[in-house]
């Protein structure tokens, strides 16, 4: 696998986020290159998810800047960040459980829908054409993720591993430039992990989507990411290629005393 594929797409500059006296993220900087898969690892409570929440607009950073293709997106609301092309999945699945797979994916398209309430009330003409176009995009994703057989099933009735896959689909429906994945393999079995790893690689390959991945399974992280950023107690302790990071004594120290094995 080659190194950083393109120029800098997303840059995090000295970002900090405090909760009371706790510095969840403390002066973290990193550059994410166009088309790469970057993993953020670290022990529990290292601030990985908080960092992701700052990028996606869920949290307002207390300091620093976040730029997407040069433009500052730090402090924008989640929907605005999404509209600029940053999509994410959640550690705990965030889907509408009573709705079907396709309906959940269609919701993922709503940011791209132009027709407002009034024109959509009359379901023909532009609104209908738009619906058909979006359905095509959704069907491409269904095909891509190989979930044809569950297309019409309510999400809540699906096994966990498939729900994770549908959630990836919902994020993909945005056609994002940057995809943030928060533990996409958490709680899944071995086979589901392998499938998910393959889908992440395929997304990256097929659409050149930049991917920021938080994952606990070190085997997966080392296999699929081009670069790794290591956080501990809210601070970045190192970054580099999987091989470099693995050999870094600071990383080994950060992991010693916790259960995770490198």
């Amino acid at each position: 696998m080659d190194g950083p594929a393109g120029g800098i797409q997303l840059s995090v500059e000295g970002v900090a986020k405090h909760f009371g006296g706790v510095r969840a993220v403390d002066d973290v900087s990193m550059d994410v290159h166009k088309g790469e898969i970057l993993s953020v690892i670290g022990p529990n409570g290292a601030g990985k998810t908080t960092l992701l929440n700052c990028i996606s607009g869920v949290f307002h950073p207390d300091g620093g800047r976040i730029r997407l293709e040069g433009a500052d997106i730090g402090g924008l609301s989640p929907s605005r960040v999404a509209a600029r092309g940053v999509a994410r999945t959640f550690q705990n699945i965030a889907l509408f459980r009573g709705m079907t797979v396709v309906d959940n994916l269609m919701l993922g398209r709503h940011l791209h829908m132009r027709n407002g309430v009034v024109s959509s009330l009359a379901f023909w003409g532009p609104a209908q054409r738009e619906e058909v176009a979006h359905r095509k995009v959704v069907e491409d994703i269904v095909d891509f993720l190989e979930i044809e057989a569950i297309r019409k099933q309510p999400v809540g009735s699906l096994p966990y591993g498939l729900q994770k896959r549908v959630e990836l689909g919902r994020a993909l429906a945005l056609h994002p430039k940057v995809l943030l994945l928060d533990e996409p393999m958490g709680g899944t079995n071995h086979e589901e992990k392998e499938d998910m790893a393959r889908f992440i690689l395929d997304v990256n390959d097929e659409w050149r989507t930049t991917i920021i991945l938080i994952e606990h399974d070190m085997g997966v992280v080392m296999d699929i990411s081009q670069r790794v950023v290591v956080l501990d107690l809210g601070r970045k302790i190192t970054e580099g290629s999987p091989a470099e990071v693995k050999a870094d004594p600071r990383v080994i120290r950060a992991y010693l005393g916790t259960k995770a094995a490198l």
Binding site: K136, D143, E146, A149, R151, E191, D202
Partner: protein
């Protein structure tokens, strides 16, 4: 000129009814169609692309793909160029693939997608004869740099360029084909030894298809759903042979998991399925009925026996009383027709079961709900199917009569022998096996059978599987196993007893149905092995064993049984890809369990090595309980 090869039939269809649908595939949720003219254009493009890469008459193309129009086109393209096609089972593991591709001397291989390409690349070093691997779906393959790879699209493109230069070339190639050319190598999975490549000529396919067309009515407007692997001769007989010659439409399912849904959408007139699928359908219906409303369940229970009884009487050519007729008519309206509709079989004119014996209970069930289910029989070496039950002359427990162009007799040891134009050419590079199979012009099937007074063939078991107990009693294991498998809770069973004092059985529970059953009774379980060893599950299966024993002659009754800790799996060589038990292998692998069945031990410890999909191995330790038939009731009462 009359067409005499499969590609020549394609050209005839494209000429005579170019706009009629030939193939359909569901893609992105929509059924997309190829007309016969479009089908021909794809075949032309691929065929000429192959020629440009140096594919010559007699060369082989192997194919590793789910059923998709592109697969059919590629197979016909290789044949159009005078070559042989070798369909492979998609779920084959590396070792099997390597053997067949190498043995067949395949020059090119078609792979469906990344998964199959990865398998082939891994084997590349041991497949020196393979020059190119084409792939249909580029997803995930964009950055594969191996020069052996080529997208199917690129192959078609170069073929279209050649067609523009030499517009007559394709038609000339097809016209040069002769009936005696080999069309397909069909590798028989075989319950013993390495697979053998049966060479089937175009003449074989034509003879087999003409045979069935003499007794059955296939229309050009008929639809079939091609969801079984093309490596299975039954599927290639129907969706390649019959479809081209009779000119009907072949539909490819969206994914293997969507077959039942796709069946409903297509509403085929002709359905073929191996026993496994009919058995699964019955199990599914039975389980759904358990969960249905009380009213529906009562209707089903009241009317199904009437349907079955009427069907039985008709098969035995006995009169059906007006009362029974009436009950069946009510059943037809309230239960049977809606049920057939739910299964996507409302328009079915012929439903066939073949490939292995189907339990009489399952057979009767489907005839009882008004489906024209018929037994077909044949071997790979007879180009698929050579026997079929005729409409109005369906007899329970038989496989019907041979086609008019198949000559049949029952030889020594009750073996089925046949000869005729559909009998294969021989096994590729294996004259010894060919000489073994065809003696004095007769194909020896290896199946033990007898003829009933009306000339219907009754297949009992494999000649070599007929088992003799220590006291000389002979029994057919398959017969007992099929009775067990009628239960929705039994997935697979192996009956043993050679030189032993009685018959014993090793049983695989059906995880899905037993799991549901356990959930309804609030029985907690974790894994397959755990569920199988629950006392209540043993009681459940014990009742099924009792039921089976009631119908068996006393000497052949199952006296002891064990529920296995894992499913028999083709990846572990325990069953073939077509789900036939490899008895010899199972007997030696489970020798410890079998020995325990014939001892006084209450249980047996097993350590098993499991091979995962990716070839990794793991070991599993379990204690399996051994039960005597009948003891289940005592335990349940206690």
């Amino acid at each position: 000129m009359n067409p005499s090869t499969l590609p020549q039939f394609l050209l005839r269809n494209a000429r005579d009814f170019p706009g009629a649908p030939a193939m359909r595939e569901k893609d992105r949720g929509i059924w997309r169609e190829w007309t016969w003219a479009e089908y021909r254009d794809h075949v032309r493009a691929v065929a000429l692309g192959l020629v440009k890469l140096g594919f010559k008459r007699g060369d082989k193309l192997a194919a590793l793909s789910d059923n998709r129009p592109q697969l059919y086109a590629a197979l016909l393209a290789a044949q159009a160029a005078g070559g042989v096609t070798v369909p492979l089972y998609q779920d084959s593991i590396a070792r099997e693939l390597r053997y067949v591709i190498d043995h067949a001397d395949a020059k090119f291989v078609l792979a469906e997608d990344q998964e199959q390409v990865d398998k082939l690349l891994e084997l590349k070093a041991s497949l020196p004869k393979v020059e190119k691997v084409f792939y249909a779906d580029p997803k995930g393959l964009r950055h594969y740099a191996d020069p052996i790879l080529m997208p199917l699209e690129e192959l078609e493109k170069s073929g279209r360029a050649l067609a523009a230069e030499q517009p007559q070339l394709f038609e000339e190639l097809v016209a040069a084909g002769r009936a005696e050319d080999i069309a397909v190598f069909s590798y028989t999975s075989g319950t013993t030894g390495a697979p053998k490549g049966a060479m089937l000529s175009h003449a074989n396919y034509l003879a087999a298809v003409r045979g069935i067309l003499e007794v059955e009515r296939f229309e050009r407007t008929d639809e079939v759903l091609a969801y079984l692997p093309l490596a299975w001769i039954g599927e290639s007989f129907f969706s390649l042979g019959c479809a081209l010659i009779a000119g009907f439409t072949v539909n490819c399912p969206e994914r293997p998991e969507t077959v039942l849904e796709n069946l409903k959408e297509i509403g085929p007139q002709i359905v073929i399925a191996p026993p496994r699928i009919w058995e699964n359908l019955v199990s599914t219906i039975q389980v759904r009925m358990e969960d249905a409303s009380r009213f529906k369940r009562a209707l089903y229970r009241a009317l199904l026996p009437a349907g079955e009884e009427a069907a039985r009487r008709e098969m035995e050519k006995q009169p059906v009383s007006p009362g029974l007729r009436l009950r069946r008519a009510i059943g037809e309206i309230l239960v049977f027709a809606p049920l057939r509709d739910r299964l996507g079989m409302r328009r079915v004119r012929y439903a066939y079961t073949g490939g292995a014996p189907l339990g009489p209970e399952v057979f009767l069930f489907f005839r009882g709900i008004g489906l024209n289910l018929k037994q077909v029989y044949g071997q790979t070496e007879t180009t698929g199917i050579g026997w079929v039950q005729r409409d109005g002359d369906v007899k329970l427990g038989t496989v019907g009569k041979p086609y008019p162009n198949v000559e049949m007799r029952v030889g020594e040891a009750g073996e089925v022998l046949s000869r005729g134009p559909a009998i294969f050419v021989g096994y590729y590079k294996n004259p010894e096996a060919t000489a073994q199979a065809v003696r004095d012009g007769w194909l020896h099937s290896g199946d033990a059978a007898m003829l009933d007074p009306d000339g219907h063939l009754i297949v009992i078991d494999r000649v070599k599987d007929v088992t003799t107990l220590g006291d000389g009693t002979r029994f057919a294991p398959q017969f007992i196993e099929n009775k067990l498998k009628f239960s929705p809770y039994v997935k697979e069973a192996v009956a043993v007893g050679q030189d032993r004092p009685f018959v014993a059985a090793m049983i695989n529970i059906d995880m899905e149905n037993v799991g549901k059953w356990a959930e309804r009774r609030a029985i907690a379980y974790t894994t397959y092995a755990d569920l199988a060893q629950k006392r209540a599950v043993y009681d459940l299966i014990g009742r099924e064993v009792e039921r089976v024993n009631r119908d068996l002659p006393e000497a052949a009754r199952i006296q002891k049984y064990v529920l296995l800790h894992k499913e028999l799996d083709p990846d572990d060589d325990e069953v073939t890809r077509t789900r036939k038990v490899r008895r010899g292998f199972v007997a030696s692998k489970y020798a410890g369990i079998i020995a325990a069945l014939y001892s006084e031990a209450p249980s047996v410890a097993v350590t098993t090595t499991i091979t995962y999909q990716d070839g990794r191995q793991a070991t599993l330790q379990t204690e399996l309980a051994i039960r005597s038939a009948g003891a289940g009731f005592a335990a349940a009462a206690g």
